[in-house]
Symmetry: none
Subunit: 197 residues, 4 copies
């Protein structure tokens, strides 16, 4: 039982707790999930949770930060390979939908807790920093005159929220939808309203 094992053990516990929290918070909500349930699901003692997170709110804030960072990473995947504005938007569009469909628990978690009182302003601000790249891409497109003249906030919100709408649509009608086709359709719908010409 060397140092390596111990450290792994430790990391394993924290991760197990985060994983359990993600699952249970998503399924039953914040107040619907007790720290005892999280501990049990994670396979640790009730006290152990508080060695890693000083309060239950701390835990959900950490989780929120992690999941949102995760999404931010996924959104940027392959973004550097795209050159045209449309291609960049399209790439983020698919990335968002792919992420949501592949990580339904994470997706639903962000849905449930994006406007929750348990997530602190601090966490929210910290998270926002990870999304400046999105603002940059859109601003660039506006400056290049690639889009009709809409307020930037409107564009960003519509893009993000509509993408989430599509994810929800897919998750709610499992199996019955052709995902790729839907991504294509929905992108055309939004892009059609956005693009100049």
């Amino acid at each position: 039982m060397g140092c390596w094992t111990m450290e792994k053990q430790v990391h394993g516990k924290k991760e197990a707790i985060i994983g359990a929290a993600l699952k249970l918070f998503t399924e039953r909500g914040f107040y619907g999930t007790s720290t005892a349930q999280i501990s049990r699901e994670a396979g640790v003692a009730t006290g152990t949770l508080f060695n890693y997170f000083s309060t239950k709110e701390d835990l959900i804030n950490d989780l929120y930060y992690e999941v949102k960072g995760n999404l931010s990473q996924s959104l940027r995947e392959g973004l550097g390979d795209e050159s045209s504005f449309q291609a960049k938007i399209k790439r983020m569009w698919s990335n968002l939908i792919d992420w949501g469909v592949s990580n339904p628990q994470e997706f639903l978690f962000t849905e449930h807790f994006c406007s929750s009182p348990y997530i602190s302003k601090l966490t929210r601000d910290e998270v926002l920093k990870e999304y400046t790249f999105f603002r940059d891409v859109v601003r660039e497109g506006m400056e290049e005159g690639q889009m009709k003249e809409f307020p930037q906030d409107l564009i960003m919100s519509i893009l993000f929220d509509s993408g989430k709408t599509v994810v929800r649509l897919i998750l709610n009608s499992p199996g019955t939808q052709d995902k790729e086709q839907l991504i294509e359709n929905s992108f055309q719908l939004i892009w059609g309203g956005l693009a100049k010409e």
Copy 2:
């Protein structure tokens, strides 16, 4: 002290409770709000709440039904006066945004609790019946060939969710936005992607 006064008194209490619940549930969530807080905010005794609603869950279900019915009514306002498909959609679009901006508490309440486990399937089904008119309008438009060929669910979801996006945008940046202009802009954005041609 007549009959009229009595009835008013009675209605006053129930309405006060509903109003307090709307405010507090929206601000702090379901579990974050105690029935004692609701009673205090409503200016009644703790027991009085349970004379009108046998359970806390009963209360939120009633509230949900009322608020959603309210929205449904507002969406239909003046709808009969419109003849063209575009005008109908536009009318509902403005109605939705007007309602959300004029009733921010109700709007945020629906946002928080639209996919909540506290709202029963029964309530949800009951509410859905009030929205068939929306489905009918959209279907009609599709059959008349007024829109590009997208799945009906996609159209409905994008319309509704994008409208809500705009409301959120206005509520989050108070004073700084020209509401009418934003309604116009946003409608063009969505309609531009939707309409044939």
Copy 3:
């Protein structure tokens, strides 16, 4: 609606409340029965109960007094017609069992509440006065040397409790017992141990 009707109405209500209380207290116990339930069962308003009984405890004490008085009356029925000591005891024995079997609700009520904290010492003492005749009969028998020499308390308790045992036996095995035969048997059993010779 003359005076007679009104008075009858009033008496009817009090009796209805007593009747409902007897039924419900016996079935569900004192704390298991709310005054609201009693009122509903009696067909009166919740407030009406408190026009007749100032507290719930008052009600059960009244009820106790009434039921025990009732039993006392029944025990004495035909007692004056008997001359021998054995006949007197036998008469009370049958009276007790008949009463219990014919009034199971009253019988079970006395069983449940004979040693209850809700019945006040005052009530209990008041009730005891109705049973001096029993003590007198037994004392007389002792003085006449009709029984073996046992303490009077023991005799009285055994007589009364064994009678109740028989009632319970009959009530618990409905239909399967020959009541008259059982009364005869049980009396022989007790009298056999009691009588001199």
Copy 4:
């Protein structure tokens, strides 16, 4: 601070709760006793009670099972040493009375809750299994023709209930009765009616 101490500590709390519950349930009844009172009397926190018993009803069922098991044990004490039928009955008779007088709280508890709705059918059935020995002894005596011909149920009920009557008599007149003499007397009374000849 060793293992022994820990175990004792743990057992101590559970036992303290059981003891407090026995005392208070007996004195004030089930609904008349709050779990908070039990906890206070036991010297533990309100939550601790629910670490050991998931419900107040659970607690009283456990208690019932324990007390009745206890009595069953006591009834059988020395029973194997007796050979004649009369001696066996006499032995159980004294055992019952001794137990009741030495454990008045337990005795009164069984009196109050023997026909209580809080005790589940399951518990009751479980308890009954502990009393088959009594039925066996009586049946044996009947088959050997040691008693007059009475129904077995009558015999068993009279025996058990009359024993309890004697306990009550002793408990209600503290100090004034000669216990051993009373046991002797009362046994003669019952046995005199029961025995053949």
